[in-house]
């Protein structure tokens, strides 16, 4: 017996080690009773020991690199800071206008949500954390951050960046937490396609791609469509950006479903700082409410300014129109485009001006001097002055005024020369 163990010592050790690990795996794959703890207590303890051993070094090297980069970028490399500041100021101004444009819609949306008793969850509190390490294994896409349960973090809390979601907390230790990225093969999230409003389930893969494979072919789904969180998974609040659809192809393994590949909104390979969502609330946070009020005020002011501007433009245009009506014009009403100034294109070929035959404007109030009102000389009879010139007494004077009637006495009319052939003009000496 002793010789057996001595002879097969190596193989027996190997078998014993493999057997022990197989039993360990079998224990782990049993689902834990508490869904908030992904591992059993003993496994969590082993992970805790290893993480506690490794993370101090990770913190040290991360701090070293951070301080070096911080010192360089904040104290030495300041070449384009003024230009960046100027660009950011312009961006803030543009974003304020956009905020004002959206504020009215947002207020209306909140009013409708209140009417419908719609339960919305807004991010109310976050904890900023820095990424200090990885799992070191490309089959397990996991990050380690420098905040833990002492900072109020709990398992299954969503981890985001300003660009979009990146994952959720898996294991939380006192001063460190493990973040399971959304492209890990064990990850999942409820998502909503922004344009087609289709709900789907997102999954990671062993190759690090983000996939949706529970949708049947639909012509409404197009590459480039934005994908948002749906809030149905109770982890990620509704409406956070996830990514955009990169490709759509039939799923060869699960027909008739399609395989939709996403490009993540956040760069999952270069993460430095992340936000852990530690709380949500049904109403907007105070800061967001304040921003919304500021946006609404800005929108009102902008609308008022626009209305004033339009009124001033209209007044100026009407005055200009009145003056233009009173002045002789070269505009041909039949061909307005022929005489309109051409603000055109400097490079366009020169067009020769069109000659316009100037015609007199139609008479508003015809009198005896109006062309065409005098009968031909053949019809006139000597001695019939009143009858020959019927407009001399019935027509109003040709002088019309647009002046306000502040002057009760009109200016004395000058005697008008007679054009009638019966009253010949005085011969010039």
């Amino acid at each position: 017996m002793e010789s057996f163990f001595t002879r097969f010592k190596n193989v027996l050790v190997l078998v014993a080690v493999l057997l022990a690990q197989t039993i360990g795996l079998a224990v782990q794959v049993r689902r834990p009773v508490d869904p908030t703890t992904p591992d059993g207590s003993s496994v969590t303890l082993i992970r805790y020991w290893v993480v506690s051993t490794v993370t101090p070094f990770e913190r040290f090297f991360h701090g070293l690199g951070y301080n070096l980069r911080h010192g360089w970028s904040n104290y030495i490399d300041l070449r384009h800071t003024r230009q960046q500041n100027h660009d950011l100021q312009e961006q803030i101004a543009r974003l304020r206008l956009e905020q004002a444009a959206f504020a009215e819609d947002a207020i209306q949306g909140h009013r409708l949500q209140a009417l419908l008793d719609f339960q919305q969850h807004y991010v109310s509190s976050t904890v900023a954390a820095q990424v200090i390490g990885t799992s070191g294994n490309d089959l397990s896409r996991v990050l380690y951050i420098d905040k833990g349960s002492k900072d109020g973090l709990k398992p299954d809390q969503a981890v985001i960046t300003p660009d979009g979601i990146i994952g959720k907390l898996r294991d939380v230790f006192p001063h460190t937490s493990q973040v399971l990225l959304i492209n890990d093969q064990t990850s999942g999230a409820g998502v909503l396609l922004a344009n087609s409003r289709l709900r789907a389930i997102l999954r990671g893969s062993t190759t690090g791609q983000i996939l949706i494979n529970n949708l049947t072919p639909d012509s409404r789904i197009k590459p480039g469509e934005q994908v948002l969180t749906s809030g149905g998974d109770q982890v990620y609040p509704r409406g956070l950006p996830v990514g955009t659809i990169e490709s759509i192809a039939p799923d060869p393994e699960h027909q008739p479903y399609t395989l939709i590949q996403l490009r993540p909104a956040a760069n999952l390979n270069q993460l430095e700082e992340v936000l852990v969502i530690t709380g949500t609330q049904p109403t907007l946070p105070h800061e967001a409410q304040h921003d919304l009020a500021v946006g609404a005020t800005t929108a009102e002011a902008a609308a008022k300014q626009l209305a004033d501007q339009q009124a001033a433009d209209a007044a100026a245009r009407s005055a200009a129109q009145i003056v233009a009506d009173r002045l002789p014009s070269l505009h041909d009403p039949d061909h307005p485009e022929a005489t309109a100034p051409n603000p055109a294109t400097p490079g366009a070929p020169a067009v020769p001006p069109i000659r316009v035959v100037v015609k007199p404007l139609p008479t508003v109030h015809p009198d005896r001097y109006t062309p065409g009102t005098t009968p031909p000389a053949a019809d006139l009879k000597p001695g019939a002055a009143d009858r020959n010139n019927p407009t001399s007494t019935t027509n109003p004077p040709p002088y019309t005024t647009t002046q306000p009637s502040t002057n009760p006495r009109p200016a004395p009319e000058k005697p008008q020369p007679q054009t009638d052939s019966t009253h010949p003009q005085n011969p010039q000496p």
Partner: protein, 174 residues
Amino acid sequence: MATRSYTSRRELEQHSFPPAVAILVPLGAILLQALLPKPFPRLAILDLPLIITVFFAVSRRNPVAGTLTGAAIGLLQDALTSQPIGVNGMAKSVIGYIAASIGIQIDVENLTTRVFINFGFFLLNSFLIFLINRRLLGNAGFHLLWIHELLRAAINTVVALPIFFLLDNTKRSE
């Protein structure tokens, strides 16, 4: 001066390492493996713990020591991932055992031999992990891109050679 008599080639070429090297080198490999992919994401393709496992196994030429070293390094590696603890542990236990067994039979100081054993062990590691996930854990969705695994084996072989030469200096003949 005391003289030693060697009875076999195995005993002649068995090496040991100072305890500091035997402990700190695997820990350093695991730490580097966790740190490097953060600033350089493409370096996640490396598997420094496996390189160290193979080196210690073929140098010691002791299957028991190779098995235990592989198991310890693999379990530590698993503890940092989201996978069940034991996947890498089992794969590296097997590789440690086989590497040590091969080290008894052939000359592992030769450069060509090192290239072949490293390349072969990296492919074997991928196959074992695939097998454990698909068969033992019942993870039907687990896939490996074998072109990627060939590339990984080639890259790791290139990285392993200078590391082997570096660690050769820490050997202590028994």
